[in-house]
Point group: C4
Chain length 281, copies 4
Amino acid sequence: MPRHSLKHHLYVIIFGAHTPAGRAFDIGLIIAIIASLIVLILHSIPALNDKWADVFFYLELSFTVLFTIEYLLRLYCSPKPKAYATSFYGMVDLLAILPTYLALFFPAATYIGVIRMLRVMRIFRILKLVRYLQDSNILLRSLLMAKRKIFIFFSTVGILVIILGSLIYVIEGPDNGFTSVPQSIYWAIVTITTVGYGDLVPQTSVGKAVASITMLLGYSILAVPTGIITAELNQEMNSHKTLVKCPNCMKTGHESDAIHCKFCGSELAEPDERVVPVENG
Amino acid sequence: MPRHSLKHHLYVIIFGAHTPAGRAFDIGLIIAIIASLIVLILHSIPALNDKWADVFFYLELSFTVLFTIEYLLRLYCSPKPKAYATSFYGMVDLLAILPTYLALFFPAATYIGVIRMLRVMRIFRILKLVRYLQDSNILLRSLLMAKRKIFIFFSTVGILVIILGSLIYVIEGPDNGFTSVPQSIYWAIVTITTVGYGDLVPQTSVGKAVASITMLLGYSILAVPTGIITAELNQEMNSHKTLVKCPNCMKTGHESDAIHCKFCGSELAEPDERVVPVENG
Amino acid sequence: MPRHSLKHHLYVIIFGAHTPAGRAFDIGLIIAIIASLIVLILHSIPALNDKWADVFFYLELSFTVLFTIEYLLRLYCSPKPKAYATSFYGMVDLLAILPTYLALFFPAATYIGVIRMLRVMRIFRILKLVRYLQDSNILLRSLLMAKRKIFIFFSTVGILVIILGSLIYVIEGPDNGFTSVPQSIYWAIVTITTVGYGDLVPQTSVGKAVASITMLLGYSILAVPTGIITAELNQEMNSHKTLVKCPNCMKTGHESDAIHCKFCGSELAEPDERVVPVENG
Amino acid sequence: MPRHSLKHHLYVIIFGAHTPAGRAFDIGLIIAIIASLIVLILHSIPALNDKWADVFFYLELSFTVLFTIEYLLRLYCSPKPKAYATSFYGMVDLLAILPTYLALFFPAATYIGVIRMLRVMRIFRILKLVRYLQDSNILLRSLLMAKRKIFIFFSTVGILVIILGSLIYVIEGPDNGFTSVPQSIYWAIVTITTVGYGDLVPQTSVGKAVASITMLLGYSILAVPTGIITAELNQEMNSHKTLVKCPNCMKTGHESDAIHCKFCGSELAEPDERVVPVENG
């Protein structure tokens, strides 16, 4: 793609965030997305929709036209239009505009319009481009490092919930509202996560005992994912600090503000010359 | 401001906490604030107010006169009265007395009187002056250090809540109580925070499945802010520990096993000769 | 007190836990306490009490006689009977037997009998004597070290709860169940701790918005006490490990299983000769 | 057992997971278990069971025959059949098939069929054999290391719940739904774990005050198990990191900044020459 073509200029503005124009485009887009979300939310409130249905309709139509132009421009200036169209955010961009056109031809499909709320995910893309990148990377990396432990935790919770749900189904039975095993597993999830709606509660003494055990289990195993993520975050944040190597004794473990090696006293490289491995996410 | 003027004396007593008189003033003020809060709370209980309305009225009036005198004295002795009046605590001080005078002239405005409960915030100012300063600083600094990660976490929760709320709105619909998108987002917040009032619960099987996912999400992502704050607190408390001072450049911040100053390279004192500042609590 | 007197023997058995007889006494006492608690609990269930009231009464009487003998023996063999009688556990021991005698003379006072459930606290004393001492010391010390931060946290929660409760009182008012400020503060506590009974829920849109903020606040500030206690526990557990000093280079920071100094290589004292500062709790 | 006998081949396939055949067997078994669980769950839903009762019955019968063959093969090829039959997983395997045969002869015992949901535990055994072993070991070891602290925590919660339950029983009494001490302890558990069903709530002012204290207690002591597990996990993961081996005595467990072996005093390899075992995930 030639560097000075219109296509490239558009690409830098629409997909990038390093030029003033690109940043202005991102801010404008975020404002448009939030405004369109507010219209969608207000539109769903019966009392308001009865009065302002027309205003909401035309506002929504304008936003959709705007997002359609943006979508077509993205398709035009993207170096690989097909890859963009089939990517996750390409699909989100399409789903954000399609329902409005569908509603024009099939007026019955009002509920489908809520799919447009998926526009909120587009904010993620824009945030990803800007300055919160590094911190969200540390969070994501910690979660990825811990993904096996988290999988074990969720398997354990899943199996616990199935066993406790089956147990309460046998103990309480359909007469007390536990009409089926999935319903009872739903109760177990409501209880073990300490949500406790109260729409389904054990009536018998044995059932209450099982419920008590479920609650105490849920209350204490909550400590496990917290422990996992804290330990990973701790390590992630420490490893960020200690990647500088002393040019004399070759030891690492220096803090980010160190000028001299803390083991042999020789000078370290200047902070801005240090090659700290950067995330390539 | 001359050091021995009445104004300066008053300033030291009212705004300071380092003299016996200043400390006595603070303690007296805290007692008055708490007493006035208790009167306000009792006044709001219908059963008690029916009997003792007059007593509560005159007690409240006396407290208001007291706080008005204090406010005027603060304005008088403050070196920059205007800056005080427009500061956050200046506004709180004013809001704490104004409603009582308003109620004298506009007896209808009874609810506005609850604004006086803001007096409780005045306790913060007094606490800030005294000995809990350092610990609350560590807490605040950790929160500030983690502010970007906390912002990312809240954005994620916000977007999750909007998507899950829209989803349940489509699935359950107005017939099951999910009358609008904001109402459904409210349900999503009640569920993801594991509060679980139970005033709004899914009725359909698909809705219960979405609710289960919401609960498990809320249950496990709770680990993220905890991990963030714990990791920051850990670092904050460790950095506090290593207050070893370099005998050459006088800089602190060396790790406990450092032999050479990491800033200028000169040798540090032996670990057992280092004067580590002890908490003087 | 002569070492071989009956009094001293009794003292070692009743107050101590280092002799086989002392340990047997403790185990017997725990069994008696738990058995008497079970009788008290069963006695409170109407369906069971109707049938077995007499059995429960005579069982409870026997336990009370047993505990009375134990109490008198403790008074007799304690080196400072008065100090024992006025100590916290001395009071608990007395409260555990008194209500039964009271009930003999004043049959009306049935509810007061539940005070006997305080017997459960006596288990604490016995546990304190035995092997869980060290671990519970680490926990207690961490909590003590963090006591200022915990106080700040609770003050903040207290002030938040008062402000949010007053706010919801103004917004919702008595018509929606928020009949007074204390009632509204109760709602704020139910919500901020994520308990969410659902007996009192906001009905207006503004009230639901305030409730949402309260929930998100409660959900996230839960991270603060966890962070505090984790950070303290971490330091407590690390400081336990690294108190060994090298006799040659005088450096500390060695792990508990180290035989040689990790800095200069000279031998460390044998693990069982190391003077690790023991808790004097 | 001869290495090339049919028995040994079967043993390697059924009990092992290191050969392609063994892995294929495990995957097939997991699919069969999950399919049979889905059938059991669907069977428990009245609406579906009315229509498809026959299909579910024959599917369940086939799965049971399959699991019976598997059970007999395990008994046949196990080197110690008796030890297998009496082991925990041997019992689970038997309980997973028995109820179906019982139901053939005693059609009344429909509820007992839910025992077959225990099949879900068999997934654990298979997972145990494969690659998640190491991470689940770290989690388990942390829990084991902390078991005394966790025991102290649960004792404290248990005693708190008994005292608070007895208290609310005295305050609220049977008229407000607190019909017995166990019922009140159940309420205390529902409240302290922040589940908050709302089926049983205090009605009096004093009761609400006690409930508030219970909630705040539950809200804050949740920090204790989290702190314990996080601190243990931190240490467990750190100890994993320092697998540097001494070239002389071959012992591991040195800290990352150690220069000399802490066991024999000989010099360790330079930090950058150390072969730190990498996770082979």
